[in-house]
């Protein structure tokens, strides 16, 4: 390189860096602004709920049944029990069905066949169907119609299950796809059957991802209100359902909605308390999902 070239090169470097430096600052700053806006809204919302709701929270609030007359003796026992029952039954339904569907679509289905492609496209679409449509489906097919379950926990849980199943399947498929093909081949090359390969290599490798998807799906189901209204969850249940198939049931979002609509101020603060309980439940579920992912996720 000759001596004369050096200043030219330097000028080019300096000229380019000035404009770039400004962009380097403006771009991340505007990103920060967006985040700050979103976070601020969230914080204000949470604070508002917490200020109203925290004084309401007490053991009595959790263990009393809702009253339409005395706000101070009113509680969320039946709603909380209903929500927990819904979650358990929903999980029992979506874990096997969602995992099995994901395995079928990833490992067995021939993606060139039109019916498999149709299933795939439909699952994508179903994930975007508004939840009230699932409520109507639940009402028509589970509560009344062919199954005629009535307005019971089982009907509500299956409705919520159908609602989140597409998400479980999609996340499950991604987790299965993340298991590298070399593991499949390594296992098959040792004389393992496809079934053994799935059961002993692919599922264990995909499990953290599948479990995370299921928890996130459940935390979506727990806050759903519209389908439960349509399916006929009760707003002021004075007792817990004795079983899944005969008694009416309540759920937290339903109870919250009923209280919010109440003209009396005292009842509306109860809604804030119930929202806090729901938020805490959600927080625990999401924390569980994050823990699972960090603790057990397989790095290939």
């Amino acid at each position: 390189m000759s001596v004369a070239e050096v200043p030219v090169a330097r000028a080019v470097v300096r000229g380019a860096s000035r404009g770039a430096r400004v962009r380097e600052i403006i771009f991340p700053a505007s990103l920060m602004l967006c985040i700050a806006f979103a976070m601020l809204t969230l914080v204000v919302l949470l604070l508002d709920v917490a200020v109203d709701g925290l004084p309401v929270l007490s053991w009595n609030f959790l263990t009393s049944f809702p009253s339409q007359v005395f706000p101070e003796r009113s509680g969320i026992q039946s709603a909380l029990v209903g929500t927990l029952l819904l979650m358990v039954v929903c999980a029992v339904f979506i874990v096997p069905v969602g995992t099995a569907s994901a395995i079928y679509l990833e490992e067995y289905a021939d993606g060139n066949r039109w019916w498999n492609r149709l299933i795939e496209v439909n699952i994508q679409n179903l994930a975007a169907v508004p939840s009230i449509v699932y409520g109507i489906l639940g009402l028509a097919f589970l509560v009344r119609g062919p199954l005629e379950l009535g307005r019971v926990v089982l009907a509500g849980a299956l409705t919520l299950g159908l609602l989140v199943l597409p998400v479980v399947i999609i996340v499950g498929r991604e987790a299965i796809r993340a298991v590298p093909n070399s593991i499949r081949e390594g296992s098959m090359a040792l004389g393992a059957t496809l079934w053994q390969t799935i059961w002993k290599q692919i599922l264990p490798g995909a499990l953290p991802g599948i479990a995370t998807g299921i928890i996130l799906a459940l935390s979506r189901a727990i806050g759903e209100t519209a389908p439960l209204i349509v399916v006929g969850a009760a707003a002021f249940a004075r007792f817990n359902p004795n079983d899944l198939t005969s008694d009416p049931f309540s759920a937290l979002p339903i109870q919250i909605l009923a209280w919010i609509q109440d003209p009396q101020e005292e009842f509306r603060t109860l809604a804030a308390g119930a929202i806090l309980v729901l938020l805490i439940l959600l927080l625990f579920m999401n924390a569980g999902a994050i823990y699972l992912r960090n603790r057990y996720e397989q790095k290939w």
Binding site: S182, E185, A189, L190, G191, Q201
Partner: protein, 314 residues
């Protein structure tokens, strides 16, 4: 499903004797009793002329007019040759000429690729591997495979080796089987104190030897290796080559390699693949020469082979 022919020496007595004698015994010290073909497998190559086969060796594979296509387009065409028992056969040739495609037909791994189809025949100890009643899973129990990139399972070293015997339901003391396989894989001394540790914590060379040990644990008759040392340093490569020599008197080995010195060093027989462009302009792989390694490297019959092994092309 029809059971693929058992390797003669794997009939229970020699194996039982071996475990009784303790796993320390190096494979080289074992009686070479496996020369006798099992019943019904003797006329292995009816009608197939295995070119230049050494008179005393028997073919473990007789490949006849084998064409493998992906989505109808041939990747290798009209391959015919015999792979001999208890010898090391090297497959060489430029990238894309179908060596991997070919080697994967020998244990029906191509069945896992939906678009792949096979014509012609591959006879394994006389039995057509692609006969309709042959179960590919049974084939892979007898014919192990080691891949280019080490692919240990995300489990402990012990569980990696034990996986094969477990899924095959092999009887015997699992600890012993694991130790024997790791010794045969020349890995035992390095890992005996950390069998419960995750295999992902091993070096690349150790992982590859683990994969070989894992393949050996099911006591296969043949091991197929697709560029097993291409990602390894010279020392690890040397270890794997030593290992192949030690294994040779019990298993037949087929190895794909891009390393000419390696092919010349380790193999007894060499098949040279090359890409041929047909009249329609379609490219596919063919075997142009198959012979004793010595002959292929010093006095090849085809000029394309000579150009390749001397490094003038490809």
């Amino acid at each position: 499903m029809r059971q693929v022919t058992e390797r003669p020496e794997s009939s229970s007595e020699p194996r039982a004797a071996e475990s009784a004698a303790g796993a320390q015994k190096p494979p080289a010290a074992e009686p070479a009793d496996g020369r006798v073909m099992g019943p019904g497998t003797a006329p292995a190559v009816e009608g197939v002329k295995a070119p230049a086969a050494a008179p005393d060796s028997k073919p473990v594979f007789a490949v006849e007019r084998l064409t493998v296509s992906y989505a109808g387009r041939p990747a290798v065409r009209e391959v015919s040759f015999g792979i001999e028992e208890r010898r090391i056969t090297a497959l060489i040739g430029a990238s894309g000429c179908g060596k991997s495609t070919f080697i994967r037909t020998l244990n029906r791994m191509n069945d896992l690729i939906p678009s792949a189809s096979v014509e012609g025949s591959v006879r394994y100890h006389g039995q057509d591997l692609y006969a309709p009643d042959v179960d590919p899973v049974q084939v892979r129990k007898r014919i192990g495979m080691v891949f280019q990139k080490p692919n240990p399972f995300p489990k402990s070293i012990y569980d990696n080796v034990a996986f094969g015997p477990r899924v095959l339901g092999m009887k015997g003391e699992m600890d012993e089987m694991v130790e024997r396989a790791l010794r045969r894989g020349a890995l035992w001394d390095e890992v005996k104190d950390r069998l419960k540790q995750n295999a992902f914590g091993m070096s690349g060379g150790q992982q590859q030897r683990l994969c070989i040990a894992r393949a050996l644990a099911t006591d296969p008759d043949v091991i197929l290796m697709d560029e097993p040392a291409s990602a390894l340093d010279p020392i690890s490569t040397g270890r794997i080559e030593d290992l192949m020599f030690e294994l040779k008197d019990r298993v037949s080995i087929v190895i794909v390699t891009h390393n000419m010195q390696q092919a010349a060093r380790v193999s007894d027989m060499t098949a040279f693949f090359t890409v041929v462009v047909d009249d329609t302009g379609h490219r596919h792989g063919e075997v142009v020469e198959y012979d004793e390694t010595e002959k292929v490297f010093t006095n090849p019959a085809d000029e394309r082979t000579e150009a390749y092994v001397t490094g003038r092309v490809g």
